[in-house]
Amino acid sequence: MARMKFYCDPERCIECNACVTACKNENEVPWGVNRRRVVTINDGDEGERSLSVACMHCSDAPCATVCPVDCFYTTQDGVVLHDKDICIGCGYCFYACPFGAPQFPEDGAFATRGKMDKCTFCAGGPEADNSSAEHRKYGSNRLAEGKLPLCAEMCSTKALLAGDADTISEIYRKRIINRSASVMARGVSYRDASFRAPYNSAAGKSSAKE
């Protein structure tokens, strides 16, 4: 079976937030919940890069490990889903997740959070595929219709890739090879390539000005 993954290419992401909008629209997520967000690091500096991030559907998901009611499960496609009927809104998945993927509709006093909500890879939940109950709780189930998550489909620069891990890595590998080839053809190093400002954190920043 396939193993579904997202990959976001920081060299391509232009922080247009179309993926965020598409996700919200497609899944009709509750107010205040954002299953996907675009984070820009070194905003305004040289080496600014953006990444679109959501649930990464980890193979060994920390959220599933810490859940006190064991409401997570991994589908045959490798998508990490959870059962909102079992979720008690304790927030442990939110502590454990490195990506900040689990979201809660409320964050009121006395820890009233409501049921956890997160990216489903547009694969719905445990209910019957594309049933109204499933749609109400988890949003759309495009995977069952043979479609990929809308965020990736909508990405205009094709920075955000979604699909079987093998396919994704193949695409990305080709991109890298092409980027390296262009570098070699022009005889300049990657770092000095004029089409992008050189990236280097902290110490390396001044080198571009030399």
Partner: protein, 213 residues
């Protein structure tokens, strides 16, 4: 099956028992009758009655020598319970849906929980005190404990069902509330209504005598 019973017929039944029972109790009390007071009044009986109905809600300072925590607990319990019963969103929704047909403004969720906490604080203190103090141990009968237990159960199940996402927890809460409603008219919980009568009677007598009671 059981769920439908709790949600439907049992609710109607318990509400009817509650309403009919309360009215019946008050009617029987009034039916016992009072003799007219022939003594020349010094002050107004009705003014005294109205004044006492309200003024007894403020405790007498000199009676608070030893039981200060208890008096506070009494206030917390009653005010908290009143607030969460009538001004919590889920309760307003329920009342609007089942009884009145229209709702009113609810308090924010945090205030709801806060009032629940205060009510719990008050009820626990009062109940533990009932079990510990020689005076209340002597006075208390089965009715007192049953009343406390039922109110406590309703509050506890309500607190457990706070997430409002598990139907079974809501039903347990509803069931305990229904048991409370059925028990209500036959118990000391009637003081919820009869306190107006007793304060009124005392206030009227004292009002006639010209004493602020």
């Amino acid at each position: 099956m059981i769920a439908q019973f709790i949600d439907g017929p049992l609710w109607t039944f318990s509400l009817s028992v509650f309403l009919i029972g309360v009215i019946w109790r008050i009617v029987t009390i009034l039916m016992a009758g009072n003799r007219k007071d022939l003594a020349t009044p010094r002050g107004s009986a009705s003014a005294g009655a109205v004044r006492t109905v309200f003024s007894r809600s403020i405790y007498e300072r000199s009676a608070a020598t030893r039981g200060r925590l208890l008096l506070i607990a009494g206030y917390l319990f009653h005010i908290g319970l009143f607030a969460l019963l009538f001004f919590a969103q889920p309760h307003i929704d329920f009342i609007a849906e089942r009884i009145t047909g229209l709702g009113w403004t609810a308090m924010p969720h945090w205030a709801f929980i806060l009032s629940a906490e205060l009510a719990f604080l008050g009820l626990l203190l009062l109940w533990i005190h009932r079990l510990l103090s020689p005076v209340t141990r002597l006075l208390s009968d089965l009715d007192d404990h049953l009343g406390s237990i039922l109110v406590f159960l309703v509050m506890l199940t309500g607190c457990l069902a706070l997430a409002q996402s598990f139907e079974s927890l809501r039903l347990i809460h509803l069931l305990s509330a229904e048991l409370l409603l059925i028990y209500f008219p036959f118990s000391k919980l009637m003081h919820t209504f009869t306190f107006i009568l007793s304060r009124g009677y005392t206030g009227a007598t004292m009002g006639r005598k010209g004493v602020n009671a």
